[in-house]
Symmetry: C2
Subunit: 217 residues, 2 copies
């Protein structure tokens, strides 16, 4: 069962939510969306469930599907968990990472450096995603890697937005290099701390995140 029509619809809906077409609290009309996508309500409802499980929609019985964007508190909580998950990945990866993966990390970082000097946020984020993804994989724990990637995807729009702040790309860049050095030296705790601090929302990052929220809300 579960072919992929529901999946493609789920992806499109996800994009529509991320790009702001539907705002927090909006109710999604089944029949309207169904004819808009040219399908019946059945696969659309399946897509709703996908999105509900990943937290983007709230399904209220007999009421409908409502867009559910995380508020400031929940967002900070999610970033705290993300920081800890990345820290664990780093701690494990420091002991288990392969030479080939290290080379890939260095390559991703040099691509990042190019993007920084060009001021290309999109290119930077794309390479940044590869960087983190490699570390998830190299934790040697595919369940952990999956969970980390899932949360990363959920926070992606916010992380991307953060990079637009002045000087933030450069800071992120130098943190990346610090992370690679810790991994190269197999220093587990150093890698964990570096990743935790890289992701955690604290200090100036907190205010920047709050500013981002105000703009979208």
């Amino acid at each position: 069962m579960e072919k992929r029509r529901a999946d493609t619809i789920a992806e499109q809906l996800e994009a529509l939510i991320f790009n702001g077409t539907y705002a927090d609290g909006d109710r999604l009309d089944e029949v309207r969306l169904a004819e808009q996508f040219g399908v019946s309500r059945t696969p659309l409802r399946e897509a709703f469930q996908r999105l509900a499980l990943s937290g983007l929609l709230e399904l209220i019985p007999r009421r409908g599907a409502f867009v559910r964007q995380p508020g400031p508190v929940e967002l900070l909580e999610m970033f705290e968990v993300m920081a800890e998950l990345e820290a664990v990945c780093g701690r494990l990866a420091a002991l288990r990472i392969s030479e080939a993966a290290l080379a890939e990390l260095r390559e991703a970082n040099s691509s990042c450096q190019t993007a920084v000097t060009a001021g290309d946020v999109e290119a930077y984020y794309s390479e940044n995603e590869r960087f983190h993804s490699i570390i998830y994989q190299q934790s040697g724990n595919s369940f952990l890697a999956q969970e980390a990637a899932k949360l990363h995807k959920r926070l992606q729009p916010f992380r991307r937005q953060q990079l637009r702040f002045r000087g933030r790309m450069g800071q992120s860049m130098s943190e990346h290099e610090q992370i690679v050095r810790a991994l190269e030296a197999s220093k587990a705790e150093a890698a964990a701390d570096a990743l935790r601090n890289h992701v955690a929302v604290q200090g100036e990052k907190f205010h920047q995140l709050m500013a981002t929220l105000k703009n979208t809300a």
Copy 2:
């Protein structure tokens, strides 16, 4: 949308999978189960999706829904993540826990002690669940608490089974007391380490887990 008929069916199916009625790799027949539950295929398929998202089923397009029990490797991976999540909860809870919650932890522990002397595994596990749940809550991060509880539930049947091994309940008990002491003293790292070791599968626990798997498989 999403009333709770699909949810009750999902719970019942979950129980059927846990109690061994359906084994790993079994295909669940939509029409048979639908008439068995006295509903149509529609809500049943919704239940399938719930279970698939929580990892108990694998939905293969045009093929059907197959029971998917984690193998030894995945199980170890999940326990590793669980240990780290609990460690984070403990680290945060050590700084944020309330006096009332500490009292509840002590009470849960004394109920545990009663169960240990009575050799009552079910009673012990019930109180054990409360113990861990309190720590999740007291992390002060409800997103983290939710994620921890989700994984805890997924691993529940295995954790329960582990307690049946000789001496294991007593060991778990003394680890609980050590955890409470660390939390009382607000020793964040000590609490984290105690919880990680309490949950992690290593040493003799590894062989016990493998033995459990052989029995169910």
